[in-house]
Amino acid sequence: MNLTSRCAVRIGSALALLALLAFAQLPARADDRLALQVGGKTVVLTHVRAQGAARAVAADDAGVQALLAAIGATLTWQPGERYVLFTTAEPVVISFAIGDPRYDVGPVKQTAPFAPFLLNGHPYIPLDELVHALDFAIKADGSQLILQPQLASLDLQASDTGAKLVAHAGIPLDARVSAYAGNKIVITFPGVGSMLPSSRMTAGPVQRIDVRTQGTVRQPQTQVTLVLAPGVSHGPGATDDQRDFTMAFNSAAGSAAAQPVAQAAPSEAAETAPPPPAATLPAPAPVQVTGVQTQPQNGSVLIRIAVSGNTTYEWHRLRPPDNRLWLDVHNARLAIPPQSQPGSDPVSAIRVHQENPDTVRVALSLSGFDTVDVTPNAAGVLINVGATVADQTTAARAGSGTIGTAAVADASSAPDAWKFSPRPTDAPYVPANPRLIVIDPGHGGSDPGSYRGDVVEKTLTLDISKRLRDILVARGWQVIMTRDDDRDVYAPNDSAHDELQARDDIANHNGARLLLSVHVNAFMNAGPHGATVYYYKPGDLALAQAVDKRIAAELSLKNDGIVKDKLYVVHHASMPAALVETAFISNPDDRALLQSPQWRQQMAQALADGIEDFAGTAPPASGTSGQ
């Protein structure tokens, strides 16, 4: 064989091999590749198949994942599953199912040209329908394919004053607004094409909408021209939540929407009188009235009568014009000097004296027949005089009750065997150390909690907790803090479980009377504000209520009340426990309060008062000393 023929044979073999390779490919048609320009980057879809005139793509294709990531969408699908779900950034859920041509885009049912199918374990779904549902379109620019964001909807929604236009696209919308004569407005959206009808007539403040796309495939812009009805004014237009563009139309022309001026409630002068010293001797009959405090708040007045021990009381009031009210504490001695002093509206005067050898009387002169709420608790009695006028025909004019009871009675010593044994869940809790309160400053160390700028939850909770500790210790309580500096309670970078359980363990192993966890709330926007007290176990409720009531009464702050929630630190505390979210770090007004040392002191004071409303005054020390 000569050289030429040898070459021919070789070439022939090579050709045959190529032909064989080509033939081998034929029975199992390969997937196509599709390169897409997505925001300046190239994304290659490798599992694309023609399906009649339509295109199918494997939902789990790496290119599809890259595309979804680029536009803030996600895929929910597992091998073997029938449902293929996408969540867009809007968010809208797009739902496909293997074998069903129906697909859903949010609330809208649609039909695809073919039913999604499984091939080699991959779920193939209609490509163009998916892209369209994501508010994009595939457009050709020469030989390249571009994923072009689309203006997907222009909704006119009725509003109180007229109408609101909401424009939505596959990307967050930016807009330029120009006004022209003839009551015409042109809104230009750069970077988006449109799949909307070019023109439509509407009723109401906007009479006509025209949509026109200009520019190139890569740099489109869509102009929306609105023709307004005579006399209709429009707002400036804004992008809300960094996504949709909205513009308000006002049928009543010329009435500029005035923003209501947010006004912080004036903070009343703090009551600086030191708390009455807690009785440290076992109280034999008679009991002692150890203090009477007056706290004005937002037009009403709270009078706190501190009583050491168990006794009874009664109160009476007179009808107008003699608006006097008196409350007698029975079997009691006045342990403070008698008082006679002016009050603050609606209480015009307050007198405290030993009425007879067995009775201490607190007498109030009221400005009118004001609403009065008399509430006994373990620590004494609260009289809340409201600013509103009570109904003379139905309002109570007398009452009686018992002071002390449950909380102080718990001070009896508990069997030592209890201390480390599991507690039957429905048995009443008996503290091994009824004088001990555990305060848990939320977060700390490697866990900052929530923060805005340099205002950090773990620092605020520690500060409030230290102030609370000092007040409680001054009132005769023993206090353990789960942390008293900036650190993790269990270990740095520990698990949430270890960290929270370590805090519960401190309270559980020491047999504390109660656990209070101090936190600062946060939300994704600045709206929510105020204080919330969380509880979970039935035994937590009374503590949460008492603390919440004091926060509501003593602080100029919105009260969001008590909320049941399965919070770990509350659930796993054996004793009554509550978690107080003192204020929102995410709300500017609340954040300003949190940054005020005076406010944090007031919060600590309210927490201490709430604790004592629940637990009574500190039981006498028995061998153990306070911190």
């Binding site: 929910t76 074998g99 600062v520 709330n521 946060a522 994704m524 049941k564 919070l567």
Partner: protein, 162 residues
């Protein structure tokens, strides 16, 4: 006789109709952090070859995906951290287990956001027939709470937890 009975019971077991209707109710939590607001989404009918139990699984998956997505952005609602999505969901007796993507760990602190988001998920899934509690996984793992979080996640959550 026994074979006929077995055959009949097989027939009914495999052709059992799902109790799930044409619509399912999804809840979101208002930004007060506690109020649940229902909305309705259309549910794909049980398909040929899809057993009643698979249809319930799919309904749980779909409802969970809707609840985690939340209502349109124009609605002020408590939401999971951006990017959080359902990886998988299944049903075991009366417990729905939902596996969430790790973005759920990106919570920025505060009981209100964290708890409100899970509350909407639990309310949504326990609205489905036969579901009364929801076990939460994150990337396949059971967590006591989210990192730096508050809400207890190591036991299934029920409506009565709030």
């Amino acid at each position: 006789m026994l074979a006929v009975a077995a055959g009949v019971s097989w027939y009914f077991a495999s052709h059992q109709r799902s109790p799930i209707g044409a619509n399912i109710t999804v809840y979101y939590t208002k930004d007060d952090g506690t109020s649940e607001v229902p909305w309705t989404v259309s549910m794909r009918p049980q398909q040929a070859g899809e057993s009643a139990s698979e249809h319930l699984n799919n309904a749980v998956l779909y409802a969970a995906t809707q609840a985690v997505a939340g209502p349109p952005s124009s609605v002020s609602a408590v939401r999971f951290p951006p990017g959080t999505h359902v990886l998988r969901a299944n049903v075991n007796d009366s417990t729905a287990t939902v596996d969430l993507s790790e973005e759920v760990k990106n919570q920025t602190g505060g009981v209100l956001s964290e708890s409100g988001a899970f509350k909407s998920l639990v309310w949504t899934l326990t609205a489905l027939p036969g579901i009364n509690q929801v076990a939460v996984r994150v990337q396949g793992q059971t967590l006591s709470t989210l990192p730096g979080g508050h809400l207890e996640l190591d036991e299934p959550l029920r409506r009565s937890d709030w």
